[in-house]
């Protein structure tokens, strides 16, 4: 048996999943503006000394403000793990695709960063289910690859980044 799933997976058959291909979400808006605190906490975790993340003077002069590390973009749109209204955080559309698997792991990710994201930007994201594979067996277990795309917007409507992600939704080998 797997441990409890604390993130809300949708369960169903491959046919249920295939019907979700082409589904686009409503824009999901970040709860707060991009902050230097989150930027520097992430840069500290990665140990990245890029002055675009650390020096207000440099970042303002070269980029127009403190820059968000491109790799943090997905995190900037993550809902907080608890909300005062009591509802579960809205998970990425990839885990809401109904399938039998009880676990997920990322397989690949391709992102294009059209312009820098800066401290103070209000971001939103629209996600789309691009494809769902038939059942495949990997070293982790049997499951399906789910390809999704994300388009990231700034508050003024400018597209700042586009991204394609492939995730493997599977049942661990030991569970079968």
């Amino acid at each position: 048996m797997s441990a409890d799933i604390s993130y809300e997976f949708a369960f169903g058959t491959y046919e249920d999943a295939a019907r979700m291909v082409g589904t686009r979400t409503e824009p999901r808006v970040a709860g707060s503006a991009v902050s230097a605190a989150r930027i520097q906490h992430f840069a500290s975790m990665v140990r990245d000394s890029n002055p675009a993340y650390w020096s207000s003077e440099f970042a303002q002069r070269v980029w127009g403000g403190i820059v968000a590390p491109p790799a943090l973009l997905v995190g900037l749109l993550m809902p907080p793990p608890w909300m005062p209204d009591g509802g579960p955080p809205t998970a990425s559309i990839a885990v809401r695709v109904p399938l039998p698997g009880t676990a997920i792991i990322n397989a690949s990710n391709e992102a294009e960063y059209l312009m820098p994201v800066l401290e103070g930007d209000m971001l939103s994201v629209v996600e789309e289910v691009v494809s769902v594979s038939t059942e495949k067996t990997t070293r982790l277990g049997a499951g399906h690859f789910i390809e999704t795309s994300e388009t990231y917007y700034r508050g003024d409507g400018a597209v700042v980044a586009t991204c394609t992600n492939t995730l493997f939704r599977y049942t661990p080998g030991g569970d079968q």
């Binding site: 906490h41 992430f42 790799a71 995190g75 997920i104 990322n106 397989a107 080998g173």
Partner: protein
């Protein structure tokens, strides 16, 4: 560094980063990615992993660090592709080996962009390839 300065091909220096439990937990905290296998070793073991592991954002952030350390403070990551072949677990090392594979001028937009293509591969301390990546940085022209 400017685009004119870039020599193709070239090797980048190897970078080794030890990933402690603290770093993996910090990874969950900084990215707000609280899927339990990023902070709970028992949960990770229940899902076929030896212990907790870093998420894609940490791997991508490490690739970007390599890329902009090469390109200098005037450079910016404009594209990155990562493939996740294996996980980096708490207690592992991330070892990045990179090379410069191309430079090109992109004239598709209003102003030309001066781009450099890198390949960066992240191995663990057992020399197992965990995350091959392609990354493109934009540099000042000259």
């Amino acid at each position: 560094m400017t685009w004119d300065d870039v020599i193709v091909p070239a090797q980048l220096p190897e970078v080794v980063d030890q990933i402690s439990y603290e770093r993996v937990v910090m990874n969950a905290a900084t990215t707000w990615d609280y899927v339990p296998w990023h902070y709970d070793p028992e949960y990770a073991k229940g899902h076929g992993h030896p212990t907790i592991f870093v998420n894609t954002m940490h791997l991508a952030g490490f690739v970007d660090r390599i890329a902009t350390d090469f390109g200098g403070p005037g450079s910016r990551v404009v594209r990155r592709r990562v493939s996740l072949l294996g996980s980096i677990y708490a207690g592992d090392a991330m070892v990045a080996r990179g090379r410069v594979v191309g430079k090109r001028m992109d004239t598709a937009g209003k102003t030309p962009r001066y781009l450099v293509d890198l390949e960066v591969a992240i191995f663990n301390q057992r020399d197992e390839l965990c995350c091959p990546a392609e990354v493109t940085v934009e540099l000042p022209a000259a």
